[in-house]
């Protein structure tokens, strides 16, 4: 694999050439004259914040969206007005961020699904053999007979990759493939990607994580506001250069974390356990105490009980065993409204279906959790004036960009939607804030905003329980840091005593080293 910048003639003829791609949505230019070429055997990073137009570009390549102008040439043939099906036939494979798999089917069945070459008659064994072969070639380690629903996230992704490879994909588009993986899984994926490229296939790797770009890509293209703002061979690129191109401004680095001794315990959790309806233990013996003016940040790969834990703390589920007390008051089995009244705020992982009601307006969403208390409630009526007043105050304090408080939340960008959630939960000046993946799917600018708000709350004396699968974030935020693995909270240590290797191991499920970490 050549990474030599000085000899452009050594770069093989491009497999994909996109020229002058334009796409407008209303007044917004999603793509404005984008050129992109990808050669066989190369891994091209497509870097950009949310909304920079990278997904739109890839959707046009894959035939999900029609470009307004521009040409797409793939392996010498023009692709225009094509459907995803035709794109696949031409040799393009796309691994979406949200997998298109059927949980109740096995790996083989998922691979056969919608695949004409699998034939009209189901030949499971034959396809299984193909899967095993591909699996070996690329180091995917897939069991064709496994039920997809039982597979961890990283393996489901591999099923998608096998699906694309078996359908003859010569160009793979990976849409933020690392966002839900643990560090070991990420390195595994990078190895797989390298092998795929070594076989002469090409990869477009969509991401906003700089480190991975440097780890794996041969070249990188940076998008901002629908335009290409930079392209370079990786050998010639620098981290700070790419970061600045991506956000179009200097990324500030100094956090406003002030040194602050933690106060007395606020939230105390003892021996918490949760068993779900089918009898599975989701949480085991969780013990934690959260102190005034501190952030307890917890790392962990999705699906290790994080959502269960925050739901239990927030009162959306009741624990099977154990107690939760806030300032000495037992909250274990109280309702959500009582917890709210006690000063417990909660930023849930899913703003689309839980944290927000997309069809309601900004002001209604800001009042979502307090509509039944004064001042939003006056007697038997809702006080629309108070809704409006609160919304205006929150919108200016938290910088929510919208034309008016009665804009429906679903028309806002992801970052602005999260600002609404943050404004509501932090704006109510809670004693304890529970936050789960609060920056999920946000671009660096919005991520930064959320993190600053959380730190500001902690600086004011709030206690924060912060769960994230982004290790960087956990390390940056936490006064104390722990890991969730298999429904257990492991190795909570002060930030000065953190050992990244141990955290990585615990995240990957080898928690036996726990004893060495007290």
């Amino acid at each position: 694999m050549s990474r030599d910048a000085t000899q452009p003639e050594s770069v093989p003829l491009p497999m994909l050439e996109m020229r002058g791609i334009n796409k407008r949505y209303g007044a917004i230019r999603a793509n404005d004259g984008i050129d992109l070429s990808v050669a066989a055997g190369r891994i091209v990073g497509l870097l950009g914040e949310n909304g920079s137009g990278k997904s739109t570009l890839m959707k046009m390549l894959f035939g999900m969206v029609k470009p307004d102008a521009g040409t797409i040439r793939f392996k010498g043939e023009i692709l225009s007005d094509h459907t995803p099906r035709e794109a696949i036939r031409a040799g393009i494979g796309m691994i979406h961020q949200h997998f298109m798999l059927v949980d109740a089917m096995t790996v083989v069945e998922n691979v056969m699904l919608g695949w004409s070459r699998a034939g009209a008659w189901l030949r499971r064994e034959q396809v299984a053999e193909q899967i095993r072969q591909t699996s070996r070639t690329y180091g995917l380690e897939l069991n064709p007979g496994a039920l997809v629903g039982d597979l961890p996230f990283g393996h489901r992704q591999r099923v998608e990759i096998v699906k694309a490879l078996l359908r003859g994909a010569e160009l793979l588009i990976l849409d933020e493939p690392t966002s839900n993986l643990s560090p070991p899984e990420i390195s595994g994926l990078l190895v797989v990607m390298q092998r795929i490229a070594n076989q002469g296939r090409a990869i477009i790797f969509i991401t906003h994580k700089l480190g991975e770009v440097f780890d794996i890509c041969d070249e990188v293209v940076v998008l901002r506001d629908g335009r290409v703002v930079g392209r370079s061979l990786i050998a010639n690129a620098t981290r700070s250069g790419l970061a600045n191109m991506m956000v179009g401004r200097e990324v500030g680095s100094g956090l406003t974390r002030i040194d602050r001794a933690a106060g007395p315990d606020v939230l105390v959790v003892r021996d918490l356990g949760l068993r779900d309806a089918s009898g599975h233990e989701r949480l085991h013996d969780i013990n934690l105490s959260l102190r005034e003016g501190e952030i307890l940040a917890v790392a962990g790969v999705d699906g290790n009980g994080q959502t269960d834990l925050v739901d239990v703390l927030a009162g959306l589920k009741f624990p099977t065993t154990g107690t939760i007390t806030l300032n000495g008051k037992n909250l274990t089995r109280t309702t959500v409204s009582n917890r709210l009244a006690a000063g417990l705020a909660y930023i849930p992982v899913d703003r689309g279906t839980r944290g927000l009601v997309p069809g309601m307006t900004i002001e209604e969403n800001l009042g979502l959790r307090d509509f039944n208390r004064p001042p939003l409630r006056r007697g038997v009526w809702l006080d629309h004036g108070s809704f409006r007043k609160q919304a205006k105050a929150n919108m200016s304090e938290f910088g929510i960009l919208a034309s008016s408080p009665d804009t429906p939340v679903q028309t806002l960008s992801g970052g602005n939607q999260q600002k609404v959630v943050v404004a509501r939960e932090i704006g109510r000046k809670p004693k304890v804030l529970i936050a789960c993946q609060a920056t999920w799917g946000l671009d660096p600018g919005a991520t930064r905003f959320v993190i600053d708000q959380v730190i500001a709350l902690r600086n004011r004396g709030g206690a924060v329980f912060y769960i994230s699968s982004e290790l960087d974030e956990v390390l940056m935020l936490g006064d104390r840091i722990g890991v969730m693995s298999n429904g257990r909270l492991l190795g909570v240590v002060p930030r000065t005593e953190v050992d990244i290797t141990q955290i990585g191991l615990m995240m990957a499920g080898s928690g036996s080293e726990l004893s060495t970490l007290r």
Binding site: A27, V336, D350, T353, G355, V357, S403
Partner: protein, 374 residues
Amino acid sequence: MSTSLPKEREVDRSDHIDQPGTLTGSVLPTALDRSADFWRRMALGGLAVSLSFVVAAIPIIVSGKNPLLAYWALVRGACGSVDSIAFALNKSTPYILAGVGVALCFRARVINIGAEGQIAVGGIAASWIVLSATALPGELLIPLALLGGACAGGGWAAIAAVMRLARGVHEVLGTLLLNFVGLLLVSEVLHGPMGEVGAGFPQSPLFPEQAWLPPLIPGTDLHIGIILAVLAVFVFHLVFWHTPFGFRLRLLGSTDAAAAYAGVSIVRSLFSVMLIAGALAGVAGAVEVLGVHYRLIQGFSVGFGFNAVAIALLASLNPIAVLPAGLFFGFLETGALAMQREIGVPSSLVFVIQGLTMVFVLCALGISLRRQRI
């Protein structure tokens, strides 16, 4: 929510590019005011009604009749005289009452299609009260009978609600099956304890005159039921948009997860909205027996409950829009008979028009319903 003026059309410059689902929002006015939205929907509804009449003209032409004459007869039959208007308003009354309840339920994603049965048992309860307390004066008897109807209808709905909450039986199934039970219960009591002895038809004895709903306009058949219906529409419009209870229903209408997060008790809200819808349907049944038939007769309410569902949908689940939608159904059905009598176009053509209107309205509002239903 309906007070301020429509806002300037504005395009939100914050980016939506990674979220194709929201793109339409950036092109359409983002600050769409609810009252502007309401009038836009009414206009769309009007357009849908017109279109359905145009399309329904085709079968009339095929049968060799003049659609314009047929529609003229329909209009005259519906509002050509004070009597016909009174008749149409009476016909609309139960539709509106039950329709409001159905609209509230559907808004909260509670698919209550049990108005049919709730109306039936409401009618039975009101009849039973009137026939057993004949000594009471009208001022007492009528409210008592209406209340009885409300309780019976509410109770009937509560059965389905309990089945849903306690045993997980989906309310579509529960309410649908209880409809048949409710309708059969009418026959049962008429062939048994409440039947008129010696009558050739399954009906109860005539109610005492003081139990008849008083006329709204003396000299016509129009009874005070329509006042109740209009009152219900306005009260529940206020409840839905301007009280915490209405806010809860709207939250319930989004997702259970969001409702729980906002501290809404799903059990309590689901139960209350079913109870309200059942009570309204029960009152509809009571009004029908007390104001139109003055007795309980078999099949007095057949089809009302399903019409109520259609009306709620036609009103795009907006409580206040149930009023015009219900009136539309009532007047249409009243005019149908005249059309059949005078032009020879079968009155069942009206069902075609109702169906077409539904189709057109749902098509016209489909997109906006998806976008702004909450």
